[in-house]
């Protein structure tokens, strides 16, 4: 297998048999917008509106453990600005994959996956707190690390490192 595969077509051609990819391609083929195999890590880019059903499908395919949810702010270089990354682990296959959704600066909102993995509760609160990404349907979307009355979201790239003074 090649060391790096860029783009959906290249990954599908070489890794079509991968359980996560084949499950997604079988159940909801139009949800997968991009894919990458790089440094032995598989990244699947999912259309934001289809994230929750895709998460369910991938959980069915054996990726039973949600390890982490976090975000990257690509301001000002890229639009869509926010990338939310989900790291999933399969206890049976001993393997990890990454799902990501890209969200526009004008409406940084994606549906919560707490119904699929309840552990997303804290992770999503952290992303909301530090990046200002809204998770629709989240049971308790409050700031978690910063004080409740704080203004701004510190991990955004337009927030100065030393804070506003």
């Amino acid at each position: 297998m090649s060391a790096t595969l860029h783009g959906k077509d290249a990954v599908l051609a070489e890794m079509g048999q991968h359980p996560a990819i084949s499950a997604v391609m079988e159940k909801m083929p139009d949800a997968l917008t991009d894919a990458r195999w790089d440094r032995e890590e598989l990244t699947l880019t999912i259309a934001p509106e289809k994230l929750v059903p895709v998460a369910g499908v991938i959980r069915q395919a054996g990726y039973n453990f949600l390890e982490d949810v976090t975000a990257v702010d690509w301001f000002p270089a890229q639009e869509p600005r926010f990338q939310v990354s989900y790291h999933l682990l399969s206890h049976a296959r001993k393997e990890r994959i990454r799902l990501r959704v890209m969200l526009a600066a004008s409406k940084p909102e994606v549906e919560t996956i707490t119904d699929v993995w309840p552990s997303a509760n804290y992770y999503e609160r952290e992303v909301f707190d530090l990046f200002g990404v809204h998770f629709a349907g989240h049971p308790n979307l409050r700031r978690i690390l910063m004080p409740d009355e704080w203004t701004g979201h510190p991990l955004r790239k337009d927030y100065p490192v030393e804070g506003y003074r």
Binding site: T43, H91, Y122, H153, L155
Partner: protein, 406 residues
């Protein structure tokens, strides 16, 4: 920019009829058994916990934001300060992630040293856990015993790294320094007597009726709940899930070591106690194997543009001096990409997510910390139980607040 309204803490009691019966109790942040500055808002009915709500963030220092303003090698000392009981695990996890981005091979001796130190760190952290956990329950003596052994581990760390707690000894590309000549003898001396010390702790606690009554059948967490709530490490294995990253997704040469992964089917605080105690014995075995088979060779990767040269070379060779100057003043660039590296820390699965945009500073560094995730399971374990059990359950998931808040 807070256009989304937040729900206040415990805005309504659970049941209408219970309105006059329950009260809201604040526990912490300055409470000795919360292991730092953890604040719990508890709704209690008499002595029974109806709801529990952890409030965190008191130690938030924005380490992730700070990392984005530093060169790659300057991030290493920051990682120590996240989980101050297992600094080497944080060093290791960050360095492995950056090395994965750089696709940099690490010499064998450095890998073995990393395993050795990582297991010593696990002993260090478990000793603090055992001492404080027993103290929370009321067994004060054990604390003195465990801190006696921990002191020797800290001295070993000071001997090898020059620092007792904030070691920063594991660096990108290998280790900071060659270990001193009699370092291995000293570790050997410690390991030779350590299994007896574990028996000593076990004698004090395992048959103790008070300790057993406080721990057994308390804080029940099923395997399904543990997985759903993101619990990892000893609490997960005490719920009967046989998963350990050291064995199942090996890193830094762990596949070359023989060790057992302790698993318990008890699903309670006692199970977590047994698993951790057994883990200490297994760590001792791994350290022994590392000492016996320690390979010869370099402790730093052969990458002059990334790894700082030896002091001696820097002072005698012009080229090394230039490399040293360049690394210190302008860092080194890392090819763009994103990686996630997970390791098994003392508390569970730790993960570093590092995103590079091809410059000398990380674009994004995110830490996945086991305590942060495990804290979510606290309510499940405490609901419907006595208030006094909350203290035992907090001890059993072994929270470190520096790691939760970052």
């Amino acid at each position: 920019m807070s256009q989304w309204t937040a729900t206040p803490i415990l805005e309504a009691p659970v049941a209408e009829g219970a309105k006059d019966q329950t009260m809201v109790l604040n526990m912490g942040p300055q409470h000795p058994s919360t292991h730092g500055v953890l604040r719990l808002v508890l709704e209690i009915d008499g002595e029974i916990v109806v709801r529990l709500y952890p409030e965190i963030g008191y130690l938030h220092t924005g380490i992730e934001k700070t990392c984005e303003a530093k060169f790659y090698h300057q991030v290493v000392p920051l990682t120590d300060r996240i989980d101050y009981l297992s600094p080497m695990h944080n060093n290791l996890c960050y360095c492995l992630a950056v090395e994965k981005l750089l696709e940099l091979p690490i010499p064998e001796k450095a890998q073995w040293m990393r395993v050795l130190l990582s297991e010593l760190t696990r002993l260090n952290s478990h000793l603090v856990w055992l001492g404080t956990h027993a103290m929370d329950i009321g067994a004060l003596t054990v604390f003195l015993y465990t801190f006696r052994e921990r002191e020797e581990i800290l001295r070993i760390f000071e001997y090898v790294a020059g620092q007792r707690m904030m070691t920063s000894y594991i660096r990108i590309g290998g280790l900071a320094l060659e270990p001193p000549v009699d370092f291995f003898d000293r570790v050997q001396g410690f390991i030779r007597t350590f299994p007896e010390k574990i028996d000593e702790y076990s004698n004090l606690l395992t048959g103790n009726p008070i300790f057993m009554n406080r721990l057994q059948n308390v804080g029940h967490l099923s395997a399904e709940d543990a997985i759903a709530l993101g619990v990892t490490g000893p609490p997960l294995r005490a719920s009967g899930v046989d998963f350990d990253l050291r064995r199942d997704m090996p890193y830094s040469g762990y596949e070359k070591f023989q060790f057992q992964v302790p698993v318990s089917q008890r699903c309670d605080v006692w199970g977590r106690y047994e698993v951790r105690l057994q883990e200490m014995r297994e760590s001792t075995k791994i350290i022994q194997q590392a000492l016996d088979g320690m390979p010869e060779g370099a402790i730093k990767a052969d990458a002059p543009k990334i790894v700082l040269p030896d002091r001696e070379k820097m002072k005698t060779q012009m080229e090394s001096l230039i490399h040293h100057f360049k690394i210190v003043t302008e860092g080194f660039t890392v090819p763009s990409g994103e990686v996630y590296q997970g390791i098994e820390s003392s508390r569970g699965q730790m993960g570093y997510y590092v995103v590079s945009d091809g410059t000398a500073k990380p674009y994004r560094v995110h830490m996945r910390n086991p305590s942060f995730a495990s804290l979510q399971a606290l309510e499940t374990m405490c609901r419907g139980r006595m208030l006094a059990d909350v203290v035992a359950v907090i001890g059993s998931i072994d929270v470190v607040l520096g790691e939760i808040d970052r």
